[in-house]
């Protein structure tokens, strides 16, 4: 039977749906029997959603600064 450690190593391929069928079945069988690994996988999925919800934009002020700078450069380049 698949060990818990092996499951944690294969979980990335499992979530990416890239695990061969036989390994997927082994992993699912393990999950049926192991509540710790069910919790681990659930937490990994929760983590993914949390990452999706984390802002990764810059502030309006910083964006404006970059745009002003870009417009200056662009105008200089156009007039050359």
């Amino acid at each position: 039977m698949l060990s818990c450690k092996e499951l944690t190593e294969q979980a990335g391929d499992y979530l990416g749906k890239q695990l061969p069928l036989s390994k997927t079945l082994q992993l699912k069988m393990h999950l049926l029997l192991c509540r710790h690994c069910r919790r681990y996988l659930k937490q990994l999925r929760t983590t993914i959603y949390m990452v999706k919800m984390t802002p990764n934009t810059i502030s309006d002020e910083k964006a404006k600064q970059i745009v002003d700078n870009l417009f200056d450069h662009y105008t200089q380049n156009q007039t050359k």
Binding site: E6, T54, Y74
Partner: protein, 207 residues
């Protein structure tokens, strides 16, 4: 904490072509962070900001020639990746590639498994499995941002492009010059580091 959606490509491109400052600000606000991360994962910290600055200029100059065979986002990311790769070729003698050392730290502390590889210190329960409930804690939100910030560059870029920008895996692999299985490893490592942090946060109230 959710993102304000961007206008669709047609609207964006039309605003950018008119040199509309508000559209530029929206685009820069949305993409600057991922562009810097992408540049860092190719060339490291030293030249990343410069490469991104050049890329914005190339975007502004080249937009009227953009043939729309890909999304605007993909096109923009390719500009950054190409600029970073060409800068890397020019500067390769000056760069020390400490950034690129392999992350071979264990996904989970090996002492948490017994000799048969089964949990002896199993994952501890979190206060909720619901991401929104968890993120209602400002402190955990801050820890999450800090942990993402500290990820090795390639892991952070892979995570950002895959989970947040939702770029197709094939495109991410092309941008970073990695295989699909490398990408899965990067994502899995990044997610595990974050899961480990959340677990510690629940045990210790800090990260």
């Amino acid at each position: 904490m959710s993102h304000k959606p961007l206008p669709d490509d047609e609207q964006l491109i039309s605003g950018l072509l008119k040199k509309d400052q508000a559209t530029y600000i929206i685009v820069v606000k949305h993409y600057q962070y991922i562009m810097v991360n992408l540049a860092r994962s190719i060339i490291g910290d030293a030249f990343a900001e410069e490469v991104v600055q050049e890329s914005w200029l190339s975007m502004a100059k080249g937009l009227d020639k953009f043939e729309r065979r890909s999304s605007f986002k993909t096109w923009l990311m390719r500009i950054v990746a190409n600029a970073a790769k060409s800068r890397l070729r020019r500067e390769s003698r000056q760069l020390h590639l400490g950034e690129y050392t392999l992350d071979d730290s264990p996904l989970i502390n090996p002492q948490r498994f017994n000799s048969q590889g089964h949990w002896q210190s199993p994952p501890s329960r979190w206060e909720s499995d619901d991401p929104e409930t968890l993120l209602s804690s400002q402190q955990l939100g801050d820890c999450l941002e800090k942990t993402i910030e500290k990820l090795p560059h390639q892991q952070r870029t892979a995570l950002d492009m895959y989970e947040q920008q939702e770029l197709p895996s094939q495109e991410i692999c092309n941008l970073l010059d990695i295989s699909e299985s490398n990408l899965r490893v990067l994502l899995h490592r990044a997610r595990n580091r974050i899961r480990n942090m959340i677990e510690i946060f629940h045990q210790e109230g800090t990260c």
